[in-house]
Symmetry: C2
Subunit: 363 residues, 2 copies
Amino acid sequence: MELEKALIVDPVDGEYTGSVTIGDEKIAEIRRFSCTPEVIVMPGFVDLHTHGQRGIDAMSASPQDFGKWAEMNFQQGVTTFLPTTVSASLENLQEVMQNLSQLPLSIAGLHLEGPFINSEKKGAQNPDFIYPFTERHEVVLKAPVKLITAAPEVKGFEKLLKVAKRRNIEVSIGHSGATYEAMKVAFEMGVIRVTHFPNALTPVHHRELGGTGAGLYLDFNLEMIVDGIHSVPEFVDLVYKVKGADKIMLITDSISAAGLEDGVYNLGGLEVEVIDGKCKLTSNGSIAGSTLLFNDAIKNFKNFTGCSLVELSKVSSYNALKNLDVGKLGRIKEGYIANLVMLDEQLSVLKTLFKGEEVYSKL
Amino acid sequence: MELEKALIVDPVDGEYTGSVTIGDEKIAEIRRFSCTPEVIVMPGFVDLHTHGQRGIDAMSASPQDFGKWAEMNFQQGVTTFLPTTVSASLENLQEVMQNLSQLPLSIAGLHLEGPFINSEKKGAQNPDFIYPFTERHEVVLKAPVKLITAAPEVKGFEKLLKVAKRRNIEVSIGHSGATYEAMKVAFEMGVIRVTHFPNALTPVHHRELGGTGAGLYLDFNLEMIVDGIHSVPEFVDLVYKVKGADKIMLITDSISAAGLEDGVYNLGGLEVEVIDGKCKLTSNGSIAGSTLLFNDAIKNFKNFTGCSLVELSKVSSYNALKNLDVGKLGRIKEGYIANLVMLDEQLSVLKTLFKGEEVYSKL
């Protein structure tokens, strides 16, 4: 297959026109030449934090559901993602792991958001299933889990970190009441990632920088939900100005209501009301995930920050892949796996290629 | 007079070695040549927010006191400053203006901090003397006043701004509960300055950036008290990283206790306890100005941020002068007034020149 007259956007080599030839699941050849491009080609998008979409929920999804989810995500240009759990019983989490033991298509593994978090920063997590990490919880720190969100101030965190490292599972700080100092200590222990920054962290104060200040000031990589609801556009732009495009990873944090109509849904056993696309716990009004779809996340980020396409390829794909150990992905370069997304000028997805095969076409 | 073998630090031309010849109150000639410099020469420091020093308080200072204060400030390398009032009765403010009608030495005018501020963000200002601006208060918007701190959300602000503009008085936002939107509106009306950022402003939140977020995100120039008490070093460094050295102005916000021992002092009729150099209202523990001296402010800023000497010349002098209309100051350049400070490698003041005359020497 050949992609002709393309504006090729690579996070490292930059933006240029030419063609991309695909063979044997990979990018076989790139030719650079001057032309008026007819399509934007970017590395396929990566969403490392998504609880569900269109009625499917990671917590209750069957093996078939995970496959359907992956297909739905191709419409969003997403070619790598991690279904994400919420705080739950050990048994429930193990069930989800079992259902996902075969990783279909673009699913690279599982993200456990909780249960080893701080109940004071629970957000929309169910407090009944938040608990500290002990030895008996080690059973969830294995394949298909690739990423776990935990709070460094909660008992057992150091133990968790040690086991996760040994098993090649990335740890991300989230739902945490950590002070700046605690964040710094965690960073020095090798934790370089923050979950849905700055939601469910302690705020910035000029005499106690808090979790939010630590995310801004220290060299953390930050997940961000760029739906205009979790943070206002100006805050997103401020984070972009402070951190630069190398340190931001777009995520959706979407729940099963994403792509569906307003109504009443469920998240980890808690009732969620969706009104105008905004998800809130019925019980207390806490923001409960999003209905954001990935294609909209990249449009929003571009609008809020005015970033370049090359920067967009970083926040939508390259940065998330850097620490994930999932093979040669995230670049448009000979030898890389041909997970690609084609976009029009408005950044709407036209086509998605997965391992060189067309898995979605708008036309 | 000639300053030989100097490391010359100019905010615009940068850092280079050579000599500076002074004649007729001005910098007559600069010669650039390679040498091992024996002294650092910078433009004299500027402190636009200082309530007092060594027993002198702007609110009660006699004309002679103001002169003494200027002489004391030469020891700190300060060659331009604005004694600063606190919220007080109209009569009291007019008295201070009267006492300062002759501007001695390095005093460029008066800074009125209040009384047209928000009592909910009073900090250590006396609430008995906080009131909205009305026509009858126009009498304090005239010489020697050069700068006024006011809150944009307080009634009468637009009127105040209009009068101040006409009379060439700079307006700075401070002691304000303004939202991000209110800050933005004020910025669009031409207010480009924030008083002792981020103290006595609303905090940053990711869904309401507040006064602090507006200071960071919009193109405001920010006063900062860099004593390690009003803000932690990391916060100062974060502001430096976000705003750059062009948008920060060091101030002391010092009270009469500065340069004296710990004890009990007075600020605007309120009792202040100074313990280990920290000033707090006896009544409620609010931070009440500082005991910071300017020479320490520049050392702190260099330590906290690792900035260059050229950047230090901006935050300690050049930026504050840009909007102040006080003549050719703040540069080391032929034709500029020879207000200069000589420093050793530890940035301690060795000598101060005021209009080409040696007014302080450590030796």
